[in-house]
Assembly symmetry: C2
Homo-oligomer: 253 residues x 2
DNA sequence: GAGTGGTCTAGACCACCTA
DNA sequence: AGGTGGTCTAGACCACTCC
């Protein structure tokens, strides 16, 4: 029986930048996550204690705690009082991030593309206006796009944007994700709320997505808020379930 | 124009228990969340600065920061450097928690019930064994339950449990949720990973759920890990999409 | 310049677990 | 008894925003 002691890949943390703009805890969390994901620190391994790590890294305990907590929040580590910190046994896939579908797909080595079906400004229906924090009848932007993955239709993305974005053009959307465009306008996303369900495809949706009318679609309604807490995007999306699904990680604190 | 200054409902924080087992930051976060949810602190309101709050509550700044961060993580507050902390404009529904479906339903003023379709121990198929961290062929528990909501069938819940739980009986499951039972066995849930999708109902599923064969179902595959990072539950669930959907909140940090 | 949140430090005491 | 993570304190300096 080879008893393995606590583990800490000190060599991964040699060149921390203590003066740059990137927070120390972030650099440490990043390297730690990488070490776990690539197997340098294997599943089930016990980490050295926070105090020891802090000493080795010449870092205060709150800072190393913050770094470890970030990795715990991603579902890769588990902490127990009196025991220590351990790598979870079965790894976890990357959770849904606050990025657009376009970026998610780009990152996963696929080729996304977009076909703009509609891009108009119209007086807001009462319910949409209320959710966007506008008066009914004020103009809002209505978008409808078809998202393709490696050339195959994957999702219909319907969005409403508040009146601040009435000058958006088809061109802005054809080249990248909606989030890229909004970020370019200075929007800083902070919170998004999503409701995920399923329903039958309408005849038109079936045609666009290349499935039979009445076949199942995965749906998502999303509200995204910017850094000032205002709604900047309303989304009503539907996906071909054979080409897309959602992944989430829940962590108890 | 009535200019409203920064807000802090000090009266909500009069009786903090400084010696009890409940952490200070938790008590503060709890009261703050309640004050926002019930409108005592309205949408858009700006909170007083951390330093002032800390002084008023006779609490250190890291502690009040931790409390505020918890509420930010729930999507109710937004922080901006140089500006302050604000309540988001449109409130957010409570996110998915690390509880069983049974408890979720119970909390929402519905009457859940369960019908156990299968509860056996069998040699683990290779893939199930691998995910549970067992050897192929070792016994695992296979559960299949029908979940009803106010008497109507809502979901089919298929689960695998590791060999430690071979003594589970139908009776254990008929009375409450699976998570209640496992917690009763001393299991402490820490992390869960979920993949949400959609597909057609099989003939048998349609019969059980009271829908047509081929109609859309919302599906979830879940793995849950305990406090030591081991897999303690594998779930393959499907839901009637007209009776159930998932809500998630994403927060940028 | 004044005020905000973001980061970081260096301690302290506690609850919990293992032995 | 000794070691672990969990909580809490009292400061400090910084980057950012607004006036």
């Amino acid at each position: 029986m080879t008893e393995v002691g606590p583990v800490w890949p000190a060599e991964q943390f040699a060149d921390l930048d203590r003066n740059g703009p990137v927070p120390l805890y972030f650099q440490v969390a990043e390297r730690l996550e990488r070490s776990i994901r690539n197997g340098t620190v294997p599943p089930g391994a016990r980490l050295e204690s926070e105090i020891l790590i802090a000493k080795k890294l010449q870092i205060s305990r709150p800072t190393i705690r913050r770094a470890i907590q970030d990795v715990v929040d991603k579902g890769l580590l588990v902490r127990r009082r009196g025991i220590g910190t351990q790598v979870v046994q079965s790894h976890v896939t990357r959770p849904v991030e606050l990025t657009s579908l376009y970026n998610d797909l780009e990152d996963s080595n696929h080729v996304p593309s977009t076909q703009v079906l509609q891009c108009v400004s119209l007086p807001a229906p009462a319910e949409i206006a209320a959710q966007l924090g506008q008066k009914a009848g004020e103009p809002v932007v209505h978008l409808r796009r078809l998202r393709l993955i490696d050339g195959a239709p994957m999702a219909i993305l319907e969005n409403y944007l508040p009146s601040a974005f009435v000058d958006v053009t088809e061109k802005d959307l054809a080249e990248g994700g909606l989030y890229d465009y909004l970020r370019g306008c200075g929007v800083v996303f902070k919170v998004a709320n999503q409701r995920i369900g399923a329903r039958r495809a309408s005849a038109e949706e079936g045609e666009l997505l290349g499935v039979e009318e009445g076949s199942p679609l995965l749906t998502a309604e999303r509200t995204a808020l910017d850094s000032s807490g205002h709604t900047v995007e309303l989304g009503f999306h539907c996906y071909r379930p054979d080409l897309y699904d959602f992944e989430t990680t829940l962590v108890a604190r």
